[in-house]
Amino acid sequence: MYRSQFALRQFEKRAYDLFLENYVKGTSHLSIGQEAIAAGVAAAMRPTDWTFATYRGHAHTLARGVPMTPVFAELMGRTNGLMAGKGGSMHLTSVEHGVMGSYAIIGAHLPIACGAAWSAQYRGTDQVAVAFFGDGSTNIGAFHEALNLAAVWKLPVIFFCENNLWMEYTRTSEVTAVANPAADRASAYGLASIIIDGNDADEVYEVTAEAIERARAGDGPSMIEAKTYRHGGHSRADPGKYRPDEELAEWLAKDPIPRYRTRLLEAGVSEDELRAIEVEVDAEVDRATEEAKLGGVPGEDLLLKDVWADGGGAWRN
């Protein structure tokens, strides 16, 4: 999990640089500071399980094993991108890795994850769906509709709230009726209130693994609220200046990656081993960046492609 967290961090740092160099257009939402969640949850999942991510989904996509090159290339809008440039940063999807989409409308994917879980239940597979969402999603209708349906139908779905304390530019507590936006609502749907340290990959892994086990056993959904913090702003356009310096400093001190590194050193892993992982990851980021840049620019052949299942875009004869 150290490699995974470190890779997510280095990938996103590079993605930010690529923005500054104008290789990446549009917007992007980084999850620097929240890597323990993507890494911990992915480690608890089987390859056949499904992830439903948000527009802040680079980490969740990579953590499931999607290679860096097509993700960089997708951010750059190239033909070797994960979706050939048609989706972009906010819609990363890789069905072959169980990454069933990144959804950029707040809360929309929660009922969709319920549908996938319903399909697993109906077909008698033991697949589980995990839906990630932020604290902001807990105040939208789809969140409540999804939780109720999942509870009533006992669906094998895990609702994973990454509470980074800020709902875009607004402090979550100022616009939310309860202190713990997800966990305090769990009882409304007959679910246990689970709050964890989202900056501790081991804790994330363990609690998620238990929830997944319950789901596979037919015991229905769980909701987990993980406290965490994004080191940067909401999106590319946001320097995050509205946050008090002390708060940022406090959370930088709880950075999941140095913390996990220290834990491994204390457990007897050598500095050399960790350095070797870091050197490998950095080389991978460099290589993937260059490979992504070699991709072609999507052209007219892609414009009308795949509106329909026949591969085309015709709406008339």
Binding site: G101, I105, Q127, E145, R316
Partner: protein, 325 residues
């Protein structure tokens, strides 16, 4: 051959597909034990059981989200949105999620699902339970839109919609639920994107959809007694649109009248008129006339609702006047 109401045809059409394919499931408010508020799903719970026919909470986003998630992972759900006006509370799932996700993922995902919904007026339900929203659906890239006008077509188009690999919005004209016709026994399977010529005439072409089709036919009978012989085409499918049939039939008479239940602005007829103007303008012998509901929320009082929705009388008068001016 059996006489069947439009509402009975819905249950028969769904049952036909559920018997054939175990991946077909049905979900929605009151679709199971109650048999649907319009009695369109009577008997399905009894035949297929509660695992395949699922009553849901009043949660339209959850209904369509569940249908979408199920369809991307191997099922073929038929979801019901009770009144098409309610699309407004789950339009994100329809327009942003279901419609766009195949394209955005470069074809990685398929959404073989059908969303059925009671559409349009005629039942004096007022503005929030009576609107014709076919044009909402038609304007979203990635959605197919089907509107049957009779019991036989309900079965055939339902089969085509369920078997189609793309998401299909299946709009059932509420005003037609009680209408009856003789329907052949056995399996009926239609094709999406095929308009049907119901009547051939030399003077004018009347193109209608859903509940407006029987009215257009009745109007054509009256006009024929007055010496105006009309072709009547049932569009049946807005997306894909059978442009070839429509262009051919308009060219043949040189006159086009659309009969649309949707409020006037951006109705499906406007798109058709634009295609005609673009491609067969010089085949026209006179102005194109759209006969629509005015651009208003639909009123509840029977007198007002009847004034709003194109009636047989309004169709006859409008065509008569246009053909004699």
């Amino acid at each position: 051959m059996a006489q069947l109401t439009f509402r009975e045809a819905i249950a028969r059409g769904i049952a036909q597909e559920m018997r054939r394919d175990e991946s077909v499931v049905l979900l929605g408010e009151d679709v199971g034990a109650a048999g649907g508020v319009f009695k369109g799903t009577v008997g399905l719970l009894e035949e297929f059981g509660g695992v395949r026919v699922r009553d849901t909470p009043i949660s339209e986003q959850a209904i369509l989200g569940a249908a979408m998630g199920a369809s991307m992972t191997g099922l073929r759900p038929i979801a019901e949105i009770m009144f098409s006006d309610f699309f407004a509370v789950c339009w994100d799932i329809v327009a942003n999620e279901i419609a766009k996700s195949r394209y955005m993922t470069n074809g990685q995902m398929s959404f073989p699902l059908v969303i059925r919904s009671g559409n349009g007026g005629g039942l004096r339900f007022g503005a929030q339970h009576s609107q014709s929203v076919e044009n909402w659906a038609m304007m979203i890239p990635g959605l197919k839109v089907v509107v049957p006008s009779n019991a036989r077509d309900v079965i055939g188009l339902m089969a085509a919609a369920v078997r189609d690999p793309d998401p299909v919005i299946f709009l059932e004209a509420k005003a037609l639920y009680a209408s009856k016709m003789d329907v052949p026994d056995g399996e009926i399977v239609d094709t999406l994107g095929s308009a049907k010529v119901l009547r051939q005439g030399a003077n004018a072409t009347v193109v209608a959809l859903g509940a407006m089709v029987p009215r257009a036919l009745e109007a054509a009978e009256e006009l024929s007694a007055n010496g105006i012989d009309c072709t009547v085409v049932d569009v049946r499918s807005l997306v894909p649109l059978d442009t070839m049939t429509l262009l051919r039939e308009v060219s043949a008479t040189g006159r086009l009248f659309t009969v649309e239940e949707n409020p006037r602005l951006c109705g499906w007829g406007a798109e058709l008129v634009s295609i005609i103007a673009d491609e067969i303008f010089y085949d026209l012998d006179g102005p194109i006339v759209r006969i629509t509901t005015p651009h208003i929320p639909l009123p509840a009082a029977d007198s007002l609702e009847d004034l709003a929705i194109p009636s047989v009388e309004r169709i006859v008068t409008t065509i008569h006047k246009a053909m004699n001016s």
